[in-house]
């Protein structure tokens, strides 16, 4: 019985955390409560991985730990949850990043209670999104995850925060509004085989939705999700949003929130509308490949650390969409791994940038220099994260990109091969912008004498960093267990695209 509700706890625990947070009085209480809540959450996520592996050994269903409660019976809306290998991995990622985010925000002076409440509400949305099987519930959680961003960036952000917050919210909510049309389109065609109308993803996957309907609604659904996955040319919210957001929010945003896009594209657009995917994949491959290259080149031109990372995210996440559209298992495996590894890396990057900015009060690369001498811990980790990001073997990024390119190259068609080669070339560019930053910012003489007395790294910052660094290395060194977790869950998706 307890095992049955193992997933609902992912919503209940943060909801309780929020409830307790409402009654906290100051920063000290608020951060303790938030920390306790996210620790429990991380424990649950780790526990879930083990229970999932155990359950998977004896259960062949697409989703396990399912629970189904009728919600609105006239629309056949259910509160229906379950997980497969992909979602458990993403849940763990979320739990890690939320916890690291709480540590990084340890000194949040301004309205701390409200900050942690918004942060945790956002995580409720993300958790709920990853465990939903019902399209309606999924959509509800999607919007719950997006809207706290407005307050998080708007209240605690820096720079043109009001503008960035508004731009981000409107673009993401606009995308979700378009998504709503796509969801309704899928819903009203879910009875194509004579059954009842349903929002249940697993049920719809069995239905043969008419081909012209699929071709109509695939791009709508795809774009609806892909905007949050920073699909070119709808990525413009992301650099501005990242640059203005406070550190923990950037981490959560790039690390987790943008993953909703890839996951939604995979779980809804490709899974439910496979014929549409086959029909449209060429078009979106061009867009995403362009995004990969464009993001990498844009990152070269930037001097603001956060902008560099934001564009690098556009590039890396473009690769996720690119791989998903290749419609084969190896590439998909790579896409999921890339989501995870990018989530950890970017979160780490943003955490480090936050620490550097907190000490030097500038994010301009050209004004920094020789940081390795004054804050060695942060700088060393920055180098490691950079190497992981450019896909050095031994880190998670390599495993992911290897899978993606091998998978993508499996398509015989000349179009796919050319697109793949172009996308691969972006890796070289990645090396350029990362090594450039490392060279200018970390090496060389200390440019500003004020930097000689920079504060040493604090214990809570170290914990946050280690939390993110450990999985990056462990995925890189031993990727097989994770690949296995994911690969087994990919078979159902092959149904329509073979």
């Amino acid at each position: 019985m307890i095992n049955m509700d193992i997933l609902s706890l992912f919503i209940v625990v943060p909801a309780l955390t929020v409830l307790v947070l409402i009654f906290t009085k100051n920063l000290k209480q608020a951060r303790i409560v938030a920390l306790a809540g996210s620790l429990v959450q991380l424990g649950m996520a780790i526990n879930l991985i083990f229970s999932y592996i155990k359950e998977r050994a004896m259960n062949d269903a697409i989703m396990v730990f399912t629970k189904d409660v009728v919600w609105f019976k006239n629309f056949n809306i259910h509160y229906n949850i379950g997980v497969d290998g992909i979602s458990v991995a993403l849940l763990l990622l979320t739990a890690i990043i939320v916890l690291a985010g709480v540590f990084i925000s340890w000194k949040m002076e301004d309205l701390p209670k409200e900050f942690f409440i918004s942060l945790i509400v956002l995580s409720i949305g993300v958790y709920g999104f990853f465990i939903s099987i019902d399209l309606f519930t999924m959509f509800v959680f999607f919007e719950i995850a997006v809207i706290p961003m407005y307050l998080l960036i708007g209240i605690w952000g820096t720079g043109p925060r009001e503008f960035s917050a508004m731009k981000l919210t409107l673009m993401l909510m606009g995308a979700s509004a378009i998504l709503l049309v796509g969801i309704l389109g899928i819903y009203f065609n879910s009875n194509a085989d004579g059954g009842a109308l349903t929002f249940n993803i697993l049920e719809i996957a069995k239905v043969n939705i008419p081909s012209d309907v699929q071709k109509l609604f695939f791009p709508i659904t795809f774009i609806g999700f892909a905007v949050i996955g920073a699909l070119f040319p709808f990525h413009t919210w992301s650099p501005d949003g990242h640059a203005s957001a406070p550190t923990a929010v950037s981490m959560l945003h790039a690390g987790v929130l943008m993953k909703l896009g890839g996951y939604g594209v995979f779980r809804v657009a490709i899974f439910l509308l496979p014929e549409g995917a086959l029909h449209w994949s060429w078009f979106f491959i061009i867009l995403s490949a362009f995004g990969v290259i464009y993001g990498a080149f844009a990152a070269i031109k930037q001097t603001d650390l956060k902008y560099i990372n934001a564009y690098s995210s556009v590039s890396h996440l473009g690769l996720v969409l690119f791989a998903l559209l290749m419609l084969n298992k190896t590439a998909w495996n790579g896409a999921i791994l890339q989501s995870l590894s990018h989530g950890l890396m970017t979160a780490l990057f943003f955490a480090l940038i936050g620490m550097i900015y907190g000490r030097t009060h500038t994010r301009d690369v050209t004004k920094l220099g020789g940081l390795l001498k004054v804050i060695p811990f942060i700088s060393a980790v920055y180098v490691i994260a950079g190497l992981a990001s450019l896909g050095l073997p031994g880190f998670s990024g390599f495993v992911a990109e290897m899978n993606i390119f091998v998978g993508a190259f499996q398509n015989d068609d000349i179009f796919y091969r050319v697109a793949t080669i172009l996308a691969v070339s972006a890796i070289v560019v990645t090396a350029v912008y990362i090594l450039r930053v490392v060279g200018i910012m970390l090496m060389g003489p200390v440019k500003n004498e004020a930097y000689l007395t920079l504060e040493k790294v604090r214990w809570y910052e170290k914990i946050g960093i280690v939390l993110l660094l450990l999985p990056i290395i462990s995925i890189g060194v031993a990727p097989l267990w994770l690949s296995e977790l994911i690969l087994k869950s990919l078979d159902p998706f092959l149904r329509g695209v073979l």
């Binding site: 629309f75 509800v140 719950i144 209240i155 917050a165 919210t169 409107l170 509004a177 389109g185």
Partner: protein, 467 residues
């Protein structure tokens, strides 16, 4: 008929109370009214009426009865929210009980209007529901702007009533009857009938403030006392939506293929114009006026999906809309009463001084914007579902574009309250007990009406008997 008699009894009681309660104890009239109307509201939920009276002129069924209950709740919340305003500004002018009597008369008119079984009763109800509100709009006689809004309302609504009466007469001319159930058998799409239908529609659209019959809205809302603005935007509009639905789904059902196109175009125009005009508003009342115009456009999406689902979603949405809009108006009322400030700019930094009020307003605006998990999201999603079920995907697409536009201006208010610190924020103040109860009820409604699904199932059941 029970509810009508009960309300009439309350009005009579108030007249008597006004005579016998001495001048220095007039405050007790407020308590008395809220008490009586509260009981009236609660009693309404027990034993639903279902009958036909006066040879079919007056009829009720469970859905109509339920709708009167919804309106009762709305009026009750409104009374709670305006109690302080009446006590402070109106009682000393010695017109406290008249306020209630006028408002209840208008509500009585609404009862008759939505219970009407023929056009005579409908027209009587329409007039009775409109005229007292014009008097109420001009209630702050010391303010020029209030009188102006009263005059504007009475002139334009008289014209609207006249137009719909003209339309009714044409329907009578072609079908030979004023009874709904006879007209529906005789009606055919001749030119004269269509003209009659359009004129009738125009008259009702005026009350819902659909584009292009919306011009009075912002001016009247701005000038009228806030409780009357919220009465107009919530109660009066809700009732008009309901009567429009009854007319379209019963009397004019044979012409559905024609009015469908009409609704389609008007829905698009209303959503876009309401939203685009709301973008630049500085005054909260005008802002809410345009927002409520846009909301009316969304409601039409439920009407176009004419079916049990359509009916149920419209009723459900109106119920949620009542709570959301009353919450927003309630906060505006509270702030205006304490400080006299009504501009969005004045709200800057409100969260840091009055966190509770800001949260209420934020929830209300999220609900109006349709953001989960608050109720407004469910209302809108279901409306869209109703329209999509008839295949109007393009209309749904335009509607979601509008949802995004509307989000922008709702966020502007939230920006003022939460993001900005403000040079001169409104200082902390405590609301009186009635206002607090009123706001708490609305917040509970906003939080619970959406997730609590049995409510929708119940409305759906009622609606299935209606069609």
């Amino acid at each position: 008929m029970r509810q009508e008699i009960a309300l009439l009894a309350i009005i009579m009681l108030l007249v008597i109370a006004e005579i016998f309660i001495p001048k220095d104890r007039k405050v007790s009239i407020i308590h008395l009214t809220i008490f009586l109307f509260g009981i009236h509201t609660i009693v309404g939920f027990f034993h639903m009426d279902e009958n036909n009276l006066f040879g079919g002129m007056f009829r009720t069924n469970h859905l109509i009865h339920f709708f009167k209950n919804i309106l009762n709740i709305g009026v009750l919340i409104l009374l709670l929210q305006s109690a302080d305003w009446i006590q402070e500004k109106i009682l000393n002018q010695n017109k406290g009980s008249e306020f209630f009597i006028l408002m209840f008369s208008s509500l009585l008119g609404i009862y008759f209007m939505i219970s009407a079984g023929d056009f005579l009763m409908f027209y009587l109800g329409l007039e009775l529901s409109t005229l007292p509100v014009a008097a109420l709009a001009a209630y702050e006689t010391m303010k020029r702007i209030s009188s102006e809004s009263g005059i504007k309302l009475i002139l334009s609504s008289a014209l609207a009533s006249g137009v719909s009466l003209f339309g009714i007469s044409m329907l009578y001319a072609t079908t030979g009857s004023i009874y709904f159930n006879e007209i529906v058998q005789m009606i055919s799409s001749t030119n004269l009938t269509l003209l009659g239908m359009v004129l009738l529609f125009a008259g009702i659209s005026f009350k819902i403030s659909l584009v292009p019959f919306h011009f009075w809205t912002a001016d009247v809302y701005e000038g009228a006392p806030i409780s009357i603005a919220s009465y107009l935007s919530v109660i009066s509009k809700g009732a008009a939506v309901f009567i429009l639905m009854i007319l379209l789904f019963t009397v004019l059902r044979p012409l559905a293929h024609i009015w469908e196109n009409m609704i389609y175009m008007i829905a698009i125009a209303t959503m876009f114009i309401g939203n685009l005009f709301a973008l630049r508003q500085q005054n909260m009342k005008r802002f809410l006026a345009f927002s409520s115009i846009a909301q009316a456009g969304f409601i039409l999406l439920g009407l176009i999906g004419q079916s049990t689902t359509g009916t149920a979603t419209v009723v459900y949405f109106v119920l949620i809309y009542i709570f959301s809009n009353l919450a927003a108006f309630g906060v505006v009322q509270a702030i205006s009463l304490q400080t006299g400030k009504e501009n969005i700019k004045d709200y800057e930094g409100l969260y840091r001084t009055n966190p509770n009020l800001s949260l209420v307003l934020m929830l209300a605006l999220f609900s109006l914007a349709g953001i989960p998990p608050v109720a407004g999201f469910f209302g809108k999603f279901f409306l869209f579902t109703a329209a999509a079920s008839k295949g109007f995907f393009l209309l749904v697409f335009l509607a979601v574009v509008n949802v995004t536009i509307s989000l922008y201006y709702y966020l502007l208010v939230i920006r003022a309250m939460f993001l900005r610190k403000g040079d001169n924020p409104i200082p902390f103040f405590k609301n009186k007990i009635y206002m607090r109860i009123g706001l708490v009820i609305t917040v509970l409604g906003i939080l619970l009406l959406g997730i609590y699904s049995p409510l929708y199932d119940y409305i759906y059941e009622l609606s299935s008997t209606f069609n």
